[in-house]
């Protein structure tokens, strides 16, 4: 389901490929992103531009991926709409995930920190 694109130096941008990341598909999403990490990816940007809704299971999958990356790399998000931003705020996820307006801003910030 996920789509990926690579940016130099070693940044992988992941688009979940679904409009709603929920209990129905979050397990598959997590497994696919973890396969990327096991394949060597460690600098990940999750692009939520095309995701309109994220439920508690979707957030669980996202933190599950973050736990898997651990100290080996970084995971940031971008393109959150108002509803998802609000959900992140209520759960203080804005303190857990760095969030950027779009892919370009996320990739630039990430490459500068490497």
């Amino acid at each position: 389901m996920i789509h990926t694109s690579k940016y130099p130096p070693h940044i992988v941008v992941v688009r979940p490929g679904v409009e709603r990341l929920t209990a129905i598909n979050s397990k598959a999403f997590k497994e696919e992103v973890i396969a990327l990490i096991e394949g060597g990816a460690s600098q990940l940007v999750i692009d939520f531009k095309e995701v309109s809704f994220l439920d508690s299971s979707g957030l669980g999958a996202l933190t599950g991926v973050l736990k898997r990356i651990g100290h080996r790399g970084d995971l940031v998000v971008c393109g959150l709409n108002n509803d998802v931003t609000q959900m992140f705020k209520i759960c203080r996820m804005d303190r857990v995930f760095k969030s950027y307006s779009d892919v370009d801003a996320a990739v630039q910030a990430m490459s500068e920190s490497l």
Binding site: S56, G60, I90, C91, R92
Partner: protein, 393 residues
């Protein structure tokens, strides 16, 4: 060696009938003979035989009528029908197939043809029997799982009583709608020493069996005694964040993605002073005595996600005549048929408009509005509504 089968032979000609019966016996099966269609139909209904060899021309009920009648029976097994044909009867074949005949056998008294036809039929009968057996096993397993789920749901319901009670001048009322048989919501409300009221609501991420196991564990853990001990600071001051931190330590050890959001509060029923900790649970709606609605709380980390998360206490003044309503996120997320969510804003308006309603009726009013919004379709997530009204002294 094939398993012996019962085979019905419907044939009005005595010589032909006897010959077929002998051949069938010779092949190791049992022949059940009928002189006409009516007799054969009775045998189909009573014997449980799964192969029928029938002549076309018979008195009372011919082979086609018999086939039609057999296909109209509500049997729990399939009957494989072989029609006997004379030479040059190809024009009846299409009609016979349409009526439900499976195979044909010419009356040339060739034992090897009969043997082959019965062999094919018995293979299909065995296959059908095997499938029926698998189906029965699956049905049994499924009904056992359903029974277990029902027992789990009953156990969970006992932990989630519909609350309608007064605790020191605060009237508490609740409604709960699980999205499936079992749910991931849990809540509780207790009278604590020194005229305090303890309240918590939990919403486990995801739903179904997985979430319900965790919610039941939380429900059993948070007894009034546990609440009292964990939510009181060393100085005796209310410390709901202490209770939430305690739970976070317990539940973030597991190596999985499970977590829950929580709202935990201690209200002084004499003064209306409320100490609370909001751990990712949606902000409750508060309507003051003048009918003005606001959202309570700035948010906070969920519980069980990361052990290093820290939690803060916040305070709120619950005035006399004020109304506080907690709703799990199923309320805001409930979508109508066009995919439009109900939204926290609309939820806030519904609560504001109904703030003078009977507190006992209010949770059901909210459930009713959400049900209408969903157009009667079941909610996708578990819904909890808890309303608290501070009665004027």
């Amino acid at each position: 060696m094939e398993m012996p089968l019962d085979i019905i032979v419907a044939e009005d000609n005595l010589v032909q009938r006897t010959y077929l019966a002998r051949m069938i016996a010779h092949l190791g099966h049992t022949a059940l003979v009928a002189e006409d269609g009516i007799e054969a139909l009775k045998l189909v209904q009573t014997s449980g035989a799964q192969i029928l060899i029938t002549d076309f021309d018979m008195p009372k009920m011919n082979g086609l009528e018999l086939t039609h009648a057999v296909r109209g029976l509500n049997l729990d097994h399939y009957v494989h029908i072989i029609m006997l044909t004379g030479s040059g009867q190809s024009e009846t074949s299409a009609e016979a197939l349409d009526t439900g005949v499976d195979d044909f056998l010419t009356k040339d008294n060739d034992p090897s043809r009969l043997k082959a036809r019965i062999h094919v039929a018995s293979r299909l009968v065995h296959h059908a029997r095997e499938q029926q057996n698998q189906h029965r096993i699956l049905k049994e397993i499924n009904s056992r799982i359903q029974e277990d789920l029902k027992a789990a749901a009953d156990a969970q319901r006992q932990l989630l009583p519909a609350i309608h009670r007064d605790i020191g001048g605060i009237h508490v009322s609740s409604a709960f709608v699980p999205s499936a048989m079992v749910s991931g919501d849990m809540f509780g409300c207790f009278a604590l020493p020194q005229n305090k009221l303890g309240l918590y609501a939990v919403d486990v991420s995801g739903h179904g069996i997985h979430a319900s196991l965790l919610s039941v564990a939380i429900g059993h853990l948070i007894t009034p005694e546990f609440f009292c001990n964990a939510a009181c600071g060393k100085d005796g001051k209310p410390d709901p964040a202490g209770l939430v931190s305690n739970l976070n330590q317990r539940f973030s050890a597991a190596d999985n993605d499970d977590y829950f959001t929580m709202f935990c509060a201690i209200i002084d029923t004499d003064t209306g002073h409320m100490d609370f900790c909001q751990a990712g649970y949606p902000s409750p709606t508060y309507v003051d005595a003048t009918g003005q609605a606001t959202l309570v709380g700035e948010g906070g980390f969920p519980v069980g996600m990361f052990s290093h998360f820290s939690y803060e206490n916040d305070v709120f003044a619950f005035e006399e005549g004020g109304l506080l309503v907690l709703c799990s996120d199923a309320a805001g997320e409930a979508e109508n048929e066009h995919g439009v969510p109900f939204g926290r804003g609309m939820l806030c308006s519904v609560i504001e408009q109904n703030h003078q309603s009977d507190t006992d009726a209010l949770p059901d009013i909210i459930v009713q509005d959400l049900t209408e919004w969903r157009g009667g379709r079941a909610l996708e997530d578990d819904l909890t509504v808890v309303a608290l009204k501070r009665i004027n002294s």
